[in-house]
């Protein structure tokens, strides 16, 4: 077992574990300031903010020999008996020097800078900087340069950490960004006629430790300290990137990748990042309506649910279409409701939107063609209730055969998802309930229209393409008039009290073998259902 000593505190490393000074210090609860180092990028050791003192402890005598000079912690491997000193006067002085250096050319325009409040330069200045400027005073400059469709550069705020440049070379692979000029005239730039144009471009803004790279979508929309972060999952595709949904007063302002080594590491794609605006679209459905003699009648939720329940029971044979946008819990509850009305009820997977092909980047990050978060989860629920895979075609066929007489179709799609012909076939039932975000050919034909919730409004779990289950909590409340699916199904099932996603997941884990690992608490990184099931099976068969 290798032991590293950080500021006198011993930290144990697992066998074969390779950490640098910054990571080893993190284990000891010590935060070493840094700009250029990022765990997902190559090490350049150029910002010199992470300089520390290092040495080795003699394993036998315990005597410590220190190196006379400072070393960058990011570049120094933490080997057995390595000693790091991160709080000596020498280290503090060097940090103060780097902070002072970085502020020489910086405009210090925090009051008008989007990054203020989450800026390394700002934070480190308060922690490690000096209170007086000693360098000559320069006139304030603020030059802005467009990097591409999504990102803009405030040239003078840059501290030349080169993270963004390395990102486009090592992760997205397009190498659009580069460093131009030399010395303190250095700037980040794009090549003429070759703007920053890739599907991961927004990540450079996250990487930027200061306010140099700005996200045009978010620019000047909200002060970061007003926003609250909610751990979420991106529902843009079946990768299911871990994200933070950042909102203030029920408005989502931006999505940021949340570090998850099993799913997205530190990244997310622009499609997901900028694709959330539909949540606040004014085209969203907000009224519960009944179609009656070609007229639409606005109803109260409770009345509508009562009527639907009655008509479903009268119909006898019913079908439930579980959208791959539903959470595991919601899909399970809707299926249970359908089976409660009709023990033979058809439970099928709704249309799975597929656009183009999977797109994999240089580092392996993949944007999936499957544009929904929970196909795998819903598939397993359908499998459980039907004993086989079933899709919308099963419902159409059953309606044509005159068997199914009422159907509940859940939606949640942000784009067009159903064509006229399919909608026409489904509309042949006596009672068609459609629960969705936006108007669609099917909604036009619905007997009951129920406004559905968007991803940031839901509680529950998604299972991504690789069978990783991630549980999330809601970030914003739905618009007035909209009820989140889980609550609606809970009312239909006459469940007592509020529907708690975790309680439903417990039931799902008990009932469905595939979900059985989820009986354990699901951490912020989610859990790999397949690996856990396989491990459990291996333990049984021994």
């Amino acid at each position: 077992m290798a032991i590293v000593i950080v500021d006198g505190k011993e930290v144990e490393l697992a066998p074969g574990e390779r950490l640098n000074g910054i990571q080893a210090a993190e284990r000891a609860g010590v935060d070493i300031p840094r700009y250029c180092w990022h765990p997902g990028l190559s090490v350049v050791a150029s910002c010199r903010m992470c300089l520390v003192e290092t040495g080795t402890r003699n394993a036998e005598t315990g005597a410590i020999t220190m190196l006379p000079k400072l070393v960058p912690a990011c570049q120094t491997p933490a080997a057995d008996n390595t000693v790091f000193v991160t709080d000596s006067e020498k280290v503090q002085r060097s940090r103060a020097m780097v902070e002072e250096d970085l502020l020489i050319d910086h405009p210090i325009d925090c009051p008008i800078c989007d990054k203020a409040g989450e800026c390394y330069l700002q934070d480190y200045h308060f922690q490690h900087g000096q209170d007086k400027r000693r360098a000559d005073i320069r006139p304030f400059t603020s030059r802005r340069r467009e990097m591409g469709e999504t990102v803009t550069l405030f040239v003078d705020r840059c501290v030349m950490c080169s993270r963004c440049v390395r990102f486009t070379r090592e992760i997205s692979g397009g190498s659009e960004l580069y460093v131009t000029n030399r010395g303190n005239r250095e700037e980040i730039d794009v090549f003429p006629g070759r703007p920053l144009d890739n599907k991961l471009s927004g990540n450079v803004v996250d990487l930027c430790p200061v306010g140099a790279l700005g996200d045009k979508d978010f620019l000047y929309q909200q002060r970061v300290w007003f926003m609250k972060k909610h751990a979420g999952v991106c529902t843009g595709c079946s990768t299911g990137c871990s994200i933070d949904v950042e909102e203030n007063l029920d408005t989502v302002y931006r999505l940021k990748p949340r570090t998850n080594p099993h799913v997205n590491q530190w990244w997310m794609c622009d499609e997901g990042r900028y694709g959330f605006h539909y949540v606040h679209s004014d085209r969203r459905l907000t009224n519960v309506e009944r179609l009656e003699d070609d007229k639409r009648l606005i109803l109260e939720w409770s009345q509508a649910l009562r009527e639907i329940d009655e008509r479903f029971r009268d119909a006898g044979r019913v079908a439930a279409v579980l959208s791959p946008h539903l959470t595991v819990e919601e899909a399970y509850l809707l299926a249970r409701y359908a089976r409660r009305v009709d023990s033979q009820a058809l439970v099928v997977l709704g249309p799975v939107p597929v656009v183009g092909d999977d797109e994999t980047f240089k580092n392996g990050f993949t944007i999936r063609a499957e544009k929904c978060p929970n196909r795998r989860g819903v598939e397993e629920i359908v499998q459980h209730f039907m004993g086989r895979a079933a899709t919308l075609d099963d419902v159409s066929a059953s309606i044509e055969a005159g068997e199914t007489r009422a159907a509940w179709v859940s939606g949640g799609y942000k784009d067009a998802w159903i064509d006229e012909a399919t909608a026409g076939r489904l509309a042949a039932v006596e009672c068609l309930v459609v629960q969705d975000l936006f108007d669609s050919p099917l909604l036009e034909r619905a007997t009951y229209r129920l406004p559905g919730a968007a991803f940031a409004e839901r509680d529950g779990s998604y299972v991504n393409h690789a069978d990783r289950l991630q549980s999330v909590a809601w970030a914003v409340r739905p618009p007035a008039g909209v009820r989140v699916e889980a609550g609606v199904y809970g009312e239909l099932l006459a469940m007592p009290g509020l529907v708690k996603a975790r309680r439903v997941l417990d039931e799902v884990a008990r009932e469905i073998a595939f979900f059985s690992p989820a009986a354990d608490p699901v951490g912020p990184l989610g859990m790999d259902l397949k690996a856990r099931v396989m491990a459990a099976e291996a333990a049984i068969t021994g």
Binding site: V43, V44, A45, S46, C47, R48, M49, L51, L67, K69, L70, V71, P72, Q75, R93, S94, M97, V98, D101, L102, I104, D105, K132, R133, R134, A135, D136, I137, R138, V159, M160, Y178, V179, N181, R182, G183, N184, R185, E186
Partner: protein, 451 residues
Amino acid sequence: MPKFEPVLLANIGKPNSHALAVYEAAGGYRALKKVLAEMTPLALIEMIKSSNLRGRGGAGFPTGLKWSFLPKDHPGPIYMCINADESEPGTFNNRILMEDDPHQVIEGIILSCYATRAQTAYLYIRYEYPLSYQRLQAAIDECYAAGYLGKKILGTDFSLDIYLHRGAAAYICGEETGLIESLEGRRAWPRIKPPFPAVEGAFRKPTVVNNIETVCCVTQIAARGVEWFKSIGVPSDPKNPRDPGSYGPKLYCLSGHVNQPGCYEAPLGITCRQLIDEYGGGVWKGRKAKAAIPGGISMGLLTEAELDTPLDFNGPGRVGCLGLGTAAVVVIDDTTSMVDFLHNSCRFFAHESCGQCTPCREGTAWALTMMERIKAGKGRLRDLDLLLEIGDSIGIMPGTTICGLADGAAWPIKNAIRKFRGEFEQYIQKTNPKGYQVTEAVEALPILAAH
């Protein structure tokens, strides 16, 4: 003129000294033939090791030791890079060798490659040397025709190709890993070490980077033997077992305020005063020297009183200079202002800082900002302390930068202010009688000169 018989410069001045026939007539390529016929690569490394030859590029690292850091039994390729990006102000010995005796250079490269088993050598030459480029290319072409280069050199199994690569005129390309980056087609940002080039260098393969003068010394050691080489120069310090000594002839570039500037060959260990008086014909215009740069601007300054310092690898260090550097001695006469000197030095390093490490990028520019202001008559005494603080805190020695450029930028600042502080203080008080005591931050002057 002293009586030391030049060896490295022996051919210089002959008509057509750059032609193969002239070089061969003077005994050229005989050492190569002898080594290829009689010695193994390992024996050649041992020979260079025992000669205690130290690299002539500036750092003075023992060449044989550098070669022996290459991984043993590496499947290859191993690359040889020859550093001819001679950009240290005041330095021009490589140019003389490349222009007037290119075959001595090439013979040295072939020998060095034979020793290190490199089959490809890249000669990185600075853009400002067009004649050197043409002469070297012509010499390389001659060598291919004569069988000294190419496949199966002189009938042996040893093959070698030399490629000339012209830089784009940046000081930082003379740093060995900056050179490698530039050679690979990238921005010349020096690499972090380890890994050192001997383990992972050009194109991620083991690489040796040697200076032009170093490989010329290899030629001469192979031709004349270790004994001859060690009969010249300063022996190792017996009290310091790790001191490899300063053996062999050295090319000193003498310039500045002397009567006869030029490139002179002398044994290592000649004093600066001897060089100025015996070779350079004394300080010009009958004046006295005020100071001298011992080995390129980045090495700092010798004062007049320190001119008796021997210019070997240890000498300048003993009087507070960074080292021998490239042995480019620049003489500064007593009418010259040290403020001007330091301003010029700061301008150079602010211009040439590659901009990778924060302390160097911002420190060199900050120093220049202050020097501009001092020169413009708005200096403060406090600026001298700030300059010293910058000088003391940037570089690989305190550990705040990746490469040694910052040390080179720091030394002139430290030496000039510490050794000539009175002159700086006087200048500031005289030119800024109202404001010299101000300690608050003041307005910066616009800098136009650095870039």
